[in-house]
């Protein structure tokens, strides 16, 4: 799997779910994507390694854009842009 690394992304919503159990990353992802307008960006902070596979896969399925990750200390910041015509 090729992961894109990004820096200094300005997000519209930030959600800190560090130390919360799997699959909170998917539940919070759906919840916050519902709150965003098209083209806006979600920053998801998580320490869960599985999110690095799940979130790109979720983006593939739903047509949203997986922008990339930023690795900080002991967790990841994951950036997702809500698609103009998202399936979900």
């Amino acid at each position: 799997m090729n992961l894109k690394f990004v820096e200094n992304v300005k997000a519209d919503i930030t959600s800190d779910i560090v130390y919360m159990m799997c699959p909170m990353h998917l539940l919070k992802l759906e919840e916050h994507m519902g709150e965003l307008d098209e083209g806006q960006i979600l920053e998801l902070m998580t320490d869960y390694d599985g999110a690095l596979e799940d979130i790109p896969a979720w983006c593939d399925n739903t047509g949203n854009e997986f922008m990339g990750i930023d690795e900080v200390d002991d967790y990841y910041k994951i950036y997702i842009r809500k698609a103009r015509k998202a399936v979900s």
């Binding site: 130390y19 159990m21 799997c22």
Partner: protein, 394 residues
Amino acid sequence: MRYFDHVATNPLLPEVLDAMMPYFKEQFGNPLSPYDLGIAAKTAIEDARAQVAALVNAKAGEIVFTSSGAEANNFALKGIALAKQQSGNHIITSKAEHHSIMNTARSLEKLGFVVTYIPVDKYGLVDPKDVEKAIIKDTTVISIIHASSEVGTIEPIKEIAALAKAHNVTLHVDSVAAVGAIPVDVAALGVDLMSMTAHQFYGPKGAGALYIRGGQRILPLIYGGIQENGRRAGTENVPAIVGMGKAAALAKRDLAIRTQHVTRLRDRLIDVIGKVESVHLTGHPHNRLPGHASFVVEYIEGEGMLLMLQAKDIVAASGSACTSKALKASPVLISMGIPSSMAHGSLVFSMGIGNTEEDVEAINEELPKIIRRLREISPFGKSGWGKSEPEATH
């Protein structure tokens, strides 16, 4: 029975049991299930969360349900210490904590954390200046008991919270004995985490809660599913949680009346028993839980007094429930400078809304007689092992 052990546990209020019953019977769904039965259980839990949050002026999303106050204490101390491990490994607590903090701190010491145990004064009070002096670069979390179930003393939490904030240290308070007994407002106090339990305010056993201020990261204690917003796994104890919510709503509604009632009973008891020869009030004389009267009785043991009180249909405690069982001198009393021999003569009366003035008069009548009788037959005598140590004169 005249029940004076409300710090051990409270009887369940009938309205609370009524609220719980449907969730033992027809509303048995798993809150994670997507069909109506599950959704009803989930809704009931969320309603209870809002009720518990309202009791301590928190937001509903800041309340995580646990199985007990002890679990909340373990979750808080371990969860924060481990979450902040990269910033430091130093923990501060006091010498007057409940076992669920004391033993958790000891277990963290075995994992490599360093713990400072702040002493308390003769009233069981923590001096905020001592807490501040103990803070070092590596300090990540402070945990202080809000009110002692053993001696009733209420700690200066607001002052400690202010200095914890100034030093960027997370503050947890063990408010198990305080929530439901005195007004508690997490925002006004400025604490980051707070433990509480339902059966201290006429709710059921098996439900506790940890307030976790929004934005606070914490490592789970119990891993598994996504219950409690991914912070505490395990299928929820729905009836108990519903009961905790109902009990919280009633506590919020009736707090002033309850407090006034038990304060009057407490003051009457202290007024009479506190005057018996060689009997001393423990804890702070004024800044204490409204329904809490605790004493040490010189020359005799608490256990003997409890047995003789029970023969008169009066139920009370000696030390905390656990130390009473282990027949050990209470570490809390020892930390207050009370000699070990005297600490064995500890008695704790904790009043509730079901107690009457007649109940208190029964203690006032019987206890002095019991003390006299036990002292007569004590092999140690008044000048024996129980004699209090002379105060230093220099």
